[in-house]
Symmetry: C2
Subunit: 229 residues, 2 copies
């Protein structure tokens, strides 16, 4: 079972948090259906709260809710995948720049711990966890920049990035991006906004280049549609 059982009487936030982590760590694959009753049993609450949580995750871009059919882990299309990284390319460089100009010693220390955890996860072969931590690193930079609005958008974009990676990642093995994070950290430590900006831009382009976003026959079209003439 992909989602571990949880003590009874969870709050909506509990449900959201647990499901979010499960998706970010690729324990829940795109397309997976989340039946309301099932989620109810796992978290020990009524459908009312579960439905609230599922809606919340839909707004976050992690789920797709189809009327009268249920909630599914989202499957971003190629277009959406490109858009996610285009939007990140617009928002993150200048955010990294602002972060470099504001980062305190405590902020730097926190980022160092982050990278450390990332390494450990990779060493233990927990690719899913490493991916989630990598996303958290980017979010942490937005937090340091003290840009709540942009941080909120980035949260959505990084969530969707996680789904994009699940669907379109080329090499299942090494995601050797911790080097880029190290370089970014150096720039932040030196208060070098200009460099942080460019490193982030490059880092995102690098990520994008590791995805397979070439045009392809988009999913299994329904037989009826395929034969229509």
């Amino acid at each position: 079972m992909p989602v571990t059982a949880v003590a009874s009487h969870s709050t909506v936030d509990d449900i959201v948090t647990h499901l979010t982590e499960a998706v970010h760590e690729h324990r829940l694959q795109p397309g997976t259906k989340l039946r309301e009753d099932e989620v109810c049993e796992i978290f020990g609450v009524s459908r009312t709260l579960v439905r609230q949580a599922l809606r919340s995750l839909e707004y976050q871009g992690l789920l797709t809710i189809e009327k009268n059919r249920g909630a599914f882990v989202a499957k971003p299309s190629l277009k959406e995948a490109r858009e996610v990284f285009q939007a990140r390319a617009l928002l993150e460089p200048s955010t990294a720049r602002a972060a470099a100009e504001r980062a305190s010693r405590a902020d730097i220390a926190k980022l160092e711990r982050h990278i450390q955890e990332e390494h450990e996860a990779i060493d233990r072969g927990e690719a899913g966890l490493a991916l989630k931590l990598s996303g958290d690193f980017h979010l942490e930079i937005a937090r340091i920049a003290d840009q709540d609005t942009i941080e909120q958008f980035l949260k959505q974009l990084i969530s969707r990035s996680s789904l994009v990676i699940a669907l379109y990642w080329r090499r299942r093995n090494a995601l050797c991006e911790s080097h880029a994070h190290h370089a970014l950290l150096d720039a932040l430590r030196n208060g070098d906004g200009e460099t942080a900006d460019e490193l982030m831009k490059g880092h995102l382009l690098d990520l994008l280049s590791q995805l397979d976003l070439r045009e392809r026959t988009e999913g299994p079209v329904s037989l009826r549609d395929a034969l229509k003439r």
Copy 2:
């Protein structure tokens, strides 16, 4: 009463749409409380659907929901106000550029009608309606650019801009920005992305300059806090 009564058995989308328009047109002021029962009566549905709609508007940034206290039209702080326009400055210029490179004759015609309606609203002295239409103009550009993700973010940002304007607008009278929209339209018509980019940047700076975002004693602090020593 700020919100007009509506036929029974509305859908969630109906409620969201009507309330959104009311806020965008400044018929509902920041800070106004929206009691669930009241909204139920107006739209002729049960609290279940109303609560869904209110949540949805919270995610959109139009409402703030305080636990056990209810939903209120949001009151963006000075910091949020600045962030909203900073985010728009990051997203909209490149979106306008993309729109200029893609706009069809039909798109241009639609924008022309938009501006026309804007003028008519101003002539009739309906400042609220004019403001809403002005926001729609910006959204339409994102739609033309065919950038769903950014359009979604802009929807939120423009919603919040409407609240920011309600709170921090300097001159209550003329919002003479239709000139800027005309210039933008020309650039789009000519397929001149570079110019569209710069016009949009300037337009946003211009808007920002018409707001009074100077530091001030932030709202009426509670007496107890004010006297604390």
